[in-house]
Each structure stands twice: as structure tokens, then as C-alpha cells.
Amino acid sequence: MSARVYETEVLVIGGGATGSGVMRDLALRGINCILIDRKDLNAGASGGNHGLLHSGGRYATADAETAAECRREGEILKRLAPECIDDCGGLFVAVEGDDPEFANKFPEHCAGAGIPSEALTAAEAREREPALPENIIAAYAVPDATIDPFRIVLENVGHAERLNDSIYLPHTEIEGFEINDATITKALCRDRRSGEPVEIRARQFVNASGAWAEKVARLAGCSDVSLLYSKGTLLISNTRVTNGVVNRLRLPDDGDILVPGGTVSLLGTSSVTVDDPDGIAPTVPEVDRILAEGAAMLPVLNETRFVRAFSGVRPLLKSAGSEADGRKANRGFELFDHEDQGLCNFASVAGGKFTTFRLMAEKAGDLVAGRLGNSEPCMTNIEPLPSGDALRWTEPGAAARDWYRRADPADMVLCECEMVARSAVDTILADAPGAEDHMSLKAIALRSRIGKGACQGAFCAMRVTSHLYDRNVYDSPDGLRQMRDFVKERYKGVRPVLWGAQMPQTELAEILHCGLAGMDLAAAEEGADSK
């Protein structure tokens, strides 16, 4: 098979916050890029986090530098990307049994990192967050906010594509580099769906592949990137539990942070060191531990309905003492120019936080632009992020608001839990990043709330699949296979929170998926064929 060939100025590897940030940073400097991801946008830690735009309070005690970085970056994003952000504020709360000394020093540590904090009485804290318990021993308000990690990454890519014909190629995996005279000449990739080889020629290559950055660097022969993989698991509730972010005021542990996200809340997170960033999934014991810890701070969580759990892998930079406990690792980032590894046009940016992605992208952008002789300054700290019509469907509640506002009786609802209408799916099909490529059920779900409501895809997987057949996106039994893969993937997150109100939902899902759609038999048949 002959390779599909692309040519660009900069190839950016990794479709998460950092990679999409580098793509936009470079496009704003007039540099043409191709962004690739072996899966799709936010497949790693960028899609597996709280959606918390840190004030820095979380790191104020242990890592003042990261805390200050979070504060500065949070302020920039609140100013320039307000549509991706809910500036809801946050509380740090200690309850009986927590260390009062840690709590007492918190405002001092915040002040050291330039983070404003306001001491609240227990009554004041409960007025802001009625779900808090009586036994609060300390509470502080900080400028925490929430960010829609899907929306901002989609907006980054969408903006870059509009600026200068930079493009995004999903499902494109890097397999190797061709190197001549200390210079990478092309990236050898593969389209993971068609199996087709893809060759990308570029002048500069940026590795922003998050938890996979060490592996990608090694493909170029660089051994200087060394990561620690810290698995974090989170739970998603069916409703919004608190008005703002609520953090436990203690050294970071499981179940410490509850973050609202539109109409839902996210509780987490655990930190377990794993050997490999691939193939992780949330487990029942993790969920039970996070919930028990979270309920100590917010007893209402014991009565809360959770619809799903998910896990992400934090790519942490290895440092002394971090091997045993990911929580002790530095949350800062590092830019590798790889020049001491004998390469002059390769860079890796690794570590860091979602909150600091823009800064990571800026540093990478400065290096790459300089190497290309481009003297344009970084613009992402002054240029507002525009808002694209095809990209506004990831926020919980957004599709429902739009559907009610337009009140078009012909616009049928494909997902009733989240009120995602046919028109929203059609907009994504037409214009969202990756649309020029084949847009599957999974890709649409990533760009919307499809499959994320109470039924977790029981109905909408089938309805959207039907619609994709109607739109000729699917024209073979492959559409049914993709629907199966989608519900199997959703189930991995549903399984650990299966009790209470989710039991009837899952029973119904199985009635539909197996009884009506025959997915179990089709899966068994395919398994038998391939043996």
C-alpha cells in the first residue's frame, strides 16, 4: 500500500490540551501545522480530568511554583476563553478529623503564591454550599473555576484550522521517524482505521502526546523524557451537587475534590502509579474508596446518583521521591529541545496540568517559531478564543438550551437525556474538527453530550447510528460494529457505579442492545470468525 503523504511546517503529535494549544499558538504566528492523534481529541488525560481550572490553592502548600503558575494561567483563560469556563468559585473545607494545622497555614501558603483566599465561618461556607456538613472546622474561598476540557480543545483546533489551513488528522498513529543528519525529515504514521500508511513531512516536530510522550520521544531515539504514570479515577453524578468547586482542605488524597460541570458534578480523584498508560479503566474498589472519602466532606454524596466513572493517566515528570507516590511528584512541566540527544528539529513538552496547557504551548511555540526563523510573538495570552458553532455541544445543558430556544418541531431529539437534537449532530458532521474525515458515533459523542446522560447510550447509540445511516455516513454493517464498540466502551465506565437507580437503566440497555439490536450475538459471531 503506498502512503498518503502530507507536507507541513510543523507536525504536532497528540490531540490533547497541549497539542491543540501548540497548534493554535503556531497558527496564530502564521505557521502551518498538522495535528495528529492516534485516537481522537482528548483521548488521554485531557479528557480524563475534573475540568477544574485551578486557582492554585490545591498546590499552594506543597508546590508554590505550580500554584502560582495555575493562578496566572487561570486568570488568562478566564479572560480569553470565557465561553469554556464557569467562574463558579471554590471552597477549601476541613472537617472534624482533618489536621487543623494544615488548615491554619493554608491562607499563608496561598498568599505566598499570590492566590487570594477568604476565611469563612462554617455558617458562611454552608450558606454558599448548603450540601456541606455541620462539622466544618475551617473553610476558605478561592477563585477556582471549571473549564470544559472538550470545548476548549475543539475551539483550539477549530481556530487553528480557520486561521491558516492547519489541519487535524484523527486516528493517525506515529510509528517512527525518518532521520537524516540530526534532522527528522518525516514522520511515518498509520491510519488506525484503514490501516493505510501515512507520511508527514515537516520542518519541525513537536511531541505533545501527554502520557505517551516518553514512548514517542523514544521513537525518535531520545531517552531524556522520563515519565511517571499516575492513574486517577473520577465519578460523574447525574445532577449538579454543589454551586462551586469544593476541595478538601488537607494534603491531597482520594475523593478530595467535587467539581461542577454544567448540569453534573465530578468527584475524584485517586492516584495510583501504573506501569503503562494504556488500557486503564475505573474499578469498583476505587469508586467505593473515592465515594467514602468524598462523603466525609459532603455526606449528600451517599444519596447521589452516579452515572459513570472514568480514569485518566497523569503524565508526571519523574523526580526524586516521586516513584512510589505520584502525589509527591512535581506538577510542573518541562520543555525538551532534544538537542543533546542529537536532534535539531524535535521538541517534547511533558508534565504539567490542564490549567497550564496554554503556557506549555507557548513555550513549545517559542522554541519552534525561533527554530523556523519566525519572530512573531505568542498571541494566545492576548487573543481571545473565538467560539465555533459546531463546537458548543460538549457542555452539559448546552444542547437542551439550544433546542428549547429554537423550538423547531421538525428537529427531532436523538438523545433525550441530554436533549441533543438532529440539528446539533448535523452541525458536528458538517463543521467540527475531524469532520472532513469519517465522523463516527464515537467521534460525535466526543464532540457532544451523546451517551453521557442517565441512560449512558442505551437509546441514543441506536438513534444516532440510525441517523448516520440516513446521512450516508454509514453504508455497511461497519456502522453496527461501531455502535457495539461504543456501548462496550461506555460500559467500562458504567460498571463500577452500577447500583441503585443505574440498575434499571442497565437492564433496559441490555434489553435494547442485546434483545432488540442483537449486539451480543453479533459480537460472538465476529469473535468466532476471527479465531
Partner: protein, 424 residues
């Protein structure tokens, strides 16, 4: 203000309004028992309309459900159907299909083999008996007849195109088309609304006129299941006459017409046969005494107190409220009947959603003895006048085994027989 408490008496109180509950009402009525039936769930709207007996055994599709039942008795002796003979099961199913056919929804008589029931996404499933409105589609598939499948603008979840594309390999003479349903332009449409609209001859004629120009020599036309809520066979006959070719229905994503049809038919016909039916009332509490039980129900207008000589529990599983769970344990909701508890929640579900072995939780439920009486840990009946039937029973996985209707009907029959024996 409530009007107070109404008191009624009955011989057999049936709790549950799914296939098992309604089948029990039918069988008990045929036996001359006084019957009262209660329930509150709409889970019947989730059925395709197909009556499965045993479509999958040993993780394989079964062409002959009777042979499969023989194998089931060997391999799964504790399966609720394993204690019943093929002759008994066949008699129960015949009794049920005859009864619903008499009530106005024609069903095919159980044969010696499974049929290939058409599914909306262009696959087929093994099933024993189907509504008469769906039978021609099975013949069309078997013979590869030239067939047109039609869907409607604004109808979510049924795509004639998907049906065509996925059947294409085994049914090359299949084509698809999309129409705007008469009088329903520019709006989202629901199967139930279309079905009620097709009850009028004006809509039948208007739809037939839209279909006729598309025929192009086809022998069959398939529609989503919308051929009326009552008298679907008559509507199909009239439409066939107007179009001039054979017509059939395909099940749709729920809430779907075939199940609603069954429910409305039972709700109309059973009271005519003397059943005291309260299909919207939930039983709150049951007090047993040596010769029967008192059931307490709380309605919006009045409370109800039922003196029954025997009770048949057919409340289904989690979806219809017969079972519930908290974070650590599973329980039966009404009587707190013992449910075997796996080691921990991690053992309820398998890692792979579509694991062909099915999830262990689906085989947990109410344990019964050979007379379908719920038993305690000691193996003795919990109460002499309590019986159970249907999906709430342990040791079956009706979804994966494709045995939902067979399980419901056969165990309802057996439990009713056992109750009748106690009642004398």
C-alpha cells in the same frame, strides 16, 4: 382528599403487569379462579412483540427451541423452565397465543422451529411466535422476495436505510424509501401517534397512495410497527388491499407499538372476563396469614385493601421494580424475599458488556421450589399461599437466552396451576 379505603376480595391476587402477570390472569381465568391483578409499570412498551421461547443456548443460536429446551434441562437444571415438560410449555404458549388472538391481536401458532424475527437494524433473531402483522416479513427474508421498506421523516430510531444496508448481503432485492407521514409534516413523529392516526381509513388511504408510486414491482412492503393500536390485522388487510402487495411490520425502538398494543388489549379484555384489574396501582404492603394475605395499595383517589386467598408475584426485575440494589446488596422490593448475594459488587457484572456468558447479576432473583413457591434459605416455602413467576425468578438470563416470553408464560402457567391446587 381521599375517599377512604375500598375493600375487595379475590382468590388469586396477581402482582405485576408484564407478560407473566397478564398470562397468569389469563390462565387463572381459564381455570375459573377469581382474579385481581395490580401493577404500575410500563415495561411492556419495551417488547418487540415477538414471543421468544429459547433462542440461544450454550451461547449459540437455536433453530429448534424444543431441542434446545431438552439441552437446557441437562445443562441448567435449575433454570425455571427446566422443571417443565415440552408438552406443558407448548400447551401454555398455545393457550396464551390463542387468548391474545381471540382478544384481537393475531399471533402465529408456535411451530417446531424458531422463526427469524426481523430487527430494526437489519438483523434477525430467533423467536417462536410473532404478531400476524410481522409474519410476512419473515417469509420475504426467507425467499429473498423483492421488498421495499419505508420509514418516515421525523421518526427517530427506525432507519429503513440501515435496515436495507445491513440486510443487503442476504437480501439483495431489498430497497428503502422515506416518506412524510400524511398530516405530520415538519415535526418529530412517534410510533404510537402514527399508529393511532392509522386507525382512520382516511389516513390508511392517504398512506397507501404515497406508497403505491414507489412499488416498482415489489412483492412486499415493510413498515415500522405502526399499523394501528387496535385491530392491527384488519388495518393491515385494508392497507394491503389499497396498496396491492403484501405488507408487514418491523419492530421499532421502544416505547414501541407492539407492546403498548398488548398492554391496552389486556387492559380492555381482561376486565370483560371478570379480572379485577388495577393496572396503575402499586402494591405497598402484603400481610400474610395462614389462609391467604391482605394487600395494601395506595391510589390517588382511594386506598385499596385486597383480601386474597393466594398471591402470585410477577413483578419483574430492576426495570419494573421487582428487585432493587444499594451499593452493597441486592434485594426483592415487596416482601424482602431472600436473594443470594455474590461476594461483592465487583461480582455482579462481567468486565465485558457483551460477554456471551451474560452477567452473573442477571441470574440472581427469587428462588422457588418445584411448585413455584418462593423458598427461604432452608428450602421451605416462605408462605404456603405465595407463588412467583416470570423474570424475577433466579437461574435464568432471559435477555441473553432469548427466552423472555417463554419464561413468563410457562412459569405463569405452572404457578397458576400450583396456586389452583392449593385453592382447591
Amino acid at each position: 382528599m381521599k375517599r377512604g379505603t375500598r375493600k375487595i376480595e379475590t382468590q388469586l391476587a396477581i402482582i405485576g403487569t408484564g407478560i407473566a402477570g397478564f398470562a397468569a390472569s389469563i390462565f387463572a381465568g381459564q381455570r375459573g379462579l377469581e382474579v385481581a391483578q395490580f401493577g404500575h409499570s410500563g415495561a411492556m412498551a419495551y417488547t418487540t412483540g415477538y414471543l421468544d421461547l429459547l433462542g440461544v443456548h450454550d451461547q449459540r443460536l437455536q433453530q429448534n427451541p424444543w431441542d434446545a429446551l431438552d439441552a437446557l434441562r441437562q445443562d441448567e437444571p435449575r433454570h425455571p423452565m427446566s422443571g417443565l415438560s415440552n408438552a406443558t410449555i407448548r400447551a401454555a404458549i398455545d393457550g396464551f397465543t390463542d387468548a391474545i388472538s381471540d382478544m384481537g391481536i393475531g399471533y402465529t401458532k408456535a411451530g417446531d422451529h424458531n422463526l427469524s424475527g426481523l430487527l430494526p437494524n437489519g438483523l434477525a433473531k430467533p423467536t417462536l411466535s410473532v404478531p400476524d402483522t410481522m409474519r410476512p416479513g419473515i417469509t420475504a427474508l426467507e425467499t429473498g422476495a423483492k421488498t421495499l421498506v419505508v420509514d418516515f421523516e421525523g421518526l427517530q430510531g427506525f432507519s429503513a436505510k440501515a435496515f436495507e444496508v445491513n440486510f443487503r448481503d442476504r437480501w439483495p432485492e431489498l430497497s428503502s424509501a422515506r416518506l412524510t407521514f400524511p398530516g405530520m409534516e415538519n415535526r418529530q413523529v412517534f410510533p404510537e401517534v402514527l399508529a393511532r392516526s392509522l386507525e382512520t381509513s382516511a389516513t390508511q388511504q392517504a398512506l397507501a397512495e404515497l406508497i403505491r408510486p414507489l412499488l416498482n414491482g415489489v412483492e412486499y412492503v415493510g413498515l415500522p410497527a405502526i399499523l394501528g393500536m387496535h385491530m392491527p390485522d384488519e388495518i393491515r388487510a385494508r392497507m394491503e388491499e389499497a396498496i396491492g402487495v403484501r405488507l408487514f411490520e418491523v419492530p421499532t425502538i421502544p416505547p414501541a407499538v407492539p407492546g403498548i398494543r398488548l398492554r391496552e388489549t389486556f387492559e380492555r379484555a381482561l376486565p370483560e372476563k371478570g379480572v379485577q384489574l388495577e393496572p396503575q396501582l402499586k402494591v405497598a404492603e402484603v400481610d400474610f396469614r395462614p389462609t391467604g394475605a391482605t394487600l395494601h395499595l395506595h391510589g390517588p383517589m382511594e386506598d385499596l385493601e385486597v383480601e386474597a386467598s393466594a398471591v402470585l408475584l410477577a413483578t419483574g426485575r430492576f426495570l419494573s421494580g421487582g428487585l432493587k440494589s444499594d451499593q452493597d446488596s441486592l434485594s426483592e422490593t415487596l416482601l424482602d424475599l431472600p436473594i443470594r448475594q455474590p461476594q461483592d459488587r465487583d461480582a455482579w457484572f462481567r468486565q465485558d458488556y457483551l460477554d456471551p456468558r451474560g452477567h452473573p447479576v442477571n441470574r440472581l432473583g427469587v428462588e422457588v421450589d418445584g411448585r413455584f413457591q418462593p423458598v427461604g434459605a432452608d428450602g421451605a416455602p416462605v408462605h404456603e399461599r405465595l407463588f412467583a413467576a416470570g423474570a424475577i425468578l433466579a437461574h435464568q438470563d432471559w435477555v441473553r437466552q432469548r427466552c423472555g416470553a417463554g419464561l413468563a408464560i410457562a412459569t405463569a402457567h405452572a404457578a397458576t396451576e400450583a396456586a389452583a391446587a392449593v385453592l382447591g
